[in-house]
């Protein structure tokens, strides 16, 4: 059996003000798998993803990436590992003021030397890779446009293009379509799933829409109150399970915002004035 790409054993994450966001999460992810994570807002999915993409260190338990414990990495090693894990966020992935070409080429930043990276801002390097990636996401004509002139859906596709340029072994997508027009959401999810299948990348997605999860993913992991609730193939997921998963979930749509604020209070994020 190949080494699983991710192996979480009893992973927990507690923030400074004793907010337990993750508790005893154990999970094995094989290389090349596609998994959809579902659960209500604030259940801990985003924190889990941030632990997986090595932004946060688990406060308890172990995380193994390709069999190696990542707990005590030096910053340079961390950088190298991060390059192999690509992440798409719900929003604000990109720097609005830069042109699309620079945002897409940012995928190379883990590989390029500092000098090359800085020079690329003046004169874009390896532009062909950006052209290719944009063609795959269907935005070839936007190469030199200013990123903030694009719509939300288009910006997410640019983020996917950047991911393709980065060419990671793992794709983590944290609610990639929640801020996008529902009619475009399916297109983006399809893009991600295709990229995963064609290039053999592991794909872990956080989805708000249970429907999209059940339709496109062969494995569903549900998170409830910081713990794994169930881990099944879509056929085995019943309406009753879903009811219990989302029971007591408040219709509070500002939950992601509350989450951000909790994190900055906990000192885990620098206070951002732009939630």
């Amino acid at each position: 059996m190949n080494t699983p790409i991710f192996e979480l054993t009893g992973v927990g994450k507690v923030f400074a003000h004793r907010q337990t966001t993750l508790e005893n999460v154990s999970l094995v992810v094989g290389a090349g798998e596609q998994i959809a994570f579902i659960g209500s807002n604030g259940a801990g999915k985003t924190t889990l993803f941030r632990v997986l993409n090595l932004t946060f260190r688990p406060t308890s338990g172990t995380l193994r990436f390709e069999g190696a414990d990542v707990a005590n990495c030096r910053r340079t090693d961390l950088r190298r590992l991060r390059r192999r894990i690509g992440m798409i966020y719900q929003q604000q992935n990109l720097v609005g003021w830069l042109r699309v070409v620079h945002n897409v080429l940012a995928g190379h930043l883990g590989r390029w030397s500092t000098a090359k990276a800085l020079w690329s801002l003046v004169r874009p390097q390896e532009v062909e890779s950006a052209v290719e990636a944009l063609a795959r996401v269907g935005l070839s004509d936007k190469l030199y446009a200013r990123t903030d002139t694009l719509s939300g859906g288009q910006q997410q596709r640019v983020a996917v293009a950047r991911l393709l340029v980065q060419d990671p072994d793992v794709i983590l997508a944290d609610e990639p379509v929640s801020s996008v027009d529902p009619s475009l959401a399916e297109g983006i999810v399809r893009l991600l799933v295709d990229a995963s299948r064609t290039d053999g990348k592991t794909l872990l997605t956080n989805l708000h829409s249970v429907d999209l999860a059940l339709r496109f993913f062969p494995r569903i992991v549900a998170i409830r109150q910081g713990r794994v609730f169930f881990d099944l193939a879509p056929e085995k997921v019943t309406a009753e399970m879903l009811g219990m998963l989302y029971a007591g979930a408040s219709a509070d749509d500002t939950a992601p915002l509350a989450y951000e604020r909790a994190l900055s209070v906990a000192g885990a994020l620098p206070p951002s004035r732009h939630p």
Binding site: T55, L78, N93, L109, W112, A117, Q166, S272
Partner: protein
């Protein structure tokens, strides 16, 4: 107008709720009044003096003596070159200030120096200590640069490199670097951190995170601040000549000491025109940035 806000401290005065609020306002008003009265006594200024006829008369007489302004072509040519030199000093000074200020600002912005989101990896202790001391040194330097008035800097630089516009450029550059550096560092710190997190997850280093994430977001506001400071610089450039640092200031110094009131009037008018032009340019450029 964009007055910069915020200083190093984050403390505020406690604001009492409702009932006590009017007491607080009264205390504040009383305090301010006391301050004003004390100051009036100290500067020997009484309302009667300011509004007195003698003062008004003295001022009006002085202005009347200065008319008509000296408009001879030879003098106007001198004034013209003074204007050009003053403009050159202000532009060069602002340029030096932007470069120096930006470099210092990079080290004075907490989020840039220590800039990782979340897990830092195991940074070695001595590296962390080095970063902290660099940060503190940069902040102190900026504070020092901007507290010493431009005039004093000008005098110091005149001692070092001699008379002329050059020490003026240096003085302006150094002082404004202190101001701009602080403003820039605040902009750097205020930038949205989510794109930075995304860059970090691509594997970007701290330097590239700054270049791709912080700088593009900060640029519009930094440019606006720089243009605003240019308006301040042109006024300063006009007077640095007092201490020998070139520009119209030098001519004014001469005119005052030799009691050439007509020439003084022309020079003052020239300053007015120059300042107005720069103000207008700066506002127009700032507007085109929006």
């Amino acid at each position: 107008m964009e007055p910069p806000n915020g200083t190093m401290t984050q403390a505020t005065l406690p604001v009492p709720t409702d009932g006590a609020r009017s007491r607080w306002s009264w205390a504040l008003t009383a305090g301010i009044s006391a301050l004003v009265v004390w100051s009036a006594l100290g500067t020997r200024v009484e309302p009667s003096t300011i509004l007195s006829v003698e003062t008004l008369l003295a001022v009006v007489q002085y202005i009347a003596r200065a008319f008509p302004p000296d408009l001879s072509s030879s003098f106007l040519a001198e004034v013209g070159s003074g204007v050009i030199e003053t403009l050159a000093i202000s532009v060069s000074g602002t340029f030096v200030a932007i470069v120096t200020g930006a470099c210092l600002a990079v080290f004075a912005a907490r989020t840039v120096v220590f800039g990782s989101i979340g897990d830092d990896g195991n940074t070695r202790f001595w590296l962390r200590a080095l970063l902290t001391s660099t940060y503190l040194a940069a902040r102190t330097m900026l504070s020092l640069l901007r507290t010493v008035p431009e005039m004093v800097w000008a005098l110091l630089f005149v001692f070092a490199v001699g008379l002329g516009p050059f020490p003026g450029v240096l003085a302006l550059g150094v002082h404004t670097a202190g101001v701009l550096g602080k403003l820039f560092s605040e902009v750097f710190e205020d930038v949205s951190s989510r794109p930075l997190e995304a860059l970090q997850s691509c594997g970007a280093s701290r330097i590239t995170m700054f270049a791709y994430g912080v700088l593009p977001q900060a640029l519009p506001q930094c440019i606006a601040y720089s243009l605003y400071r240019w308006e301040v610089s042109i006024r300063a450039a006009a007077i640095l000549g007092f201490v020998g640092a070139g520009g119209l200031g030098q001519q004014i110094h001469l005119a005052i000491n030799l009691f050439f009131e007509h020439q003084l009037l022309t020079l003052v008018a020239a300053i007015y025109v120059t300042v107005t032009i720069v103000d207008a340019l700066s506002t127009a450029l700032r507007r085109s940035l929006r």
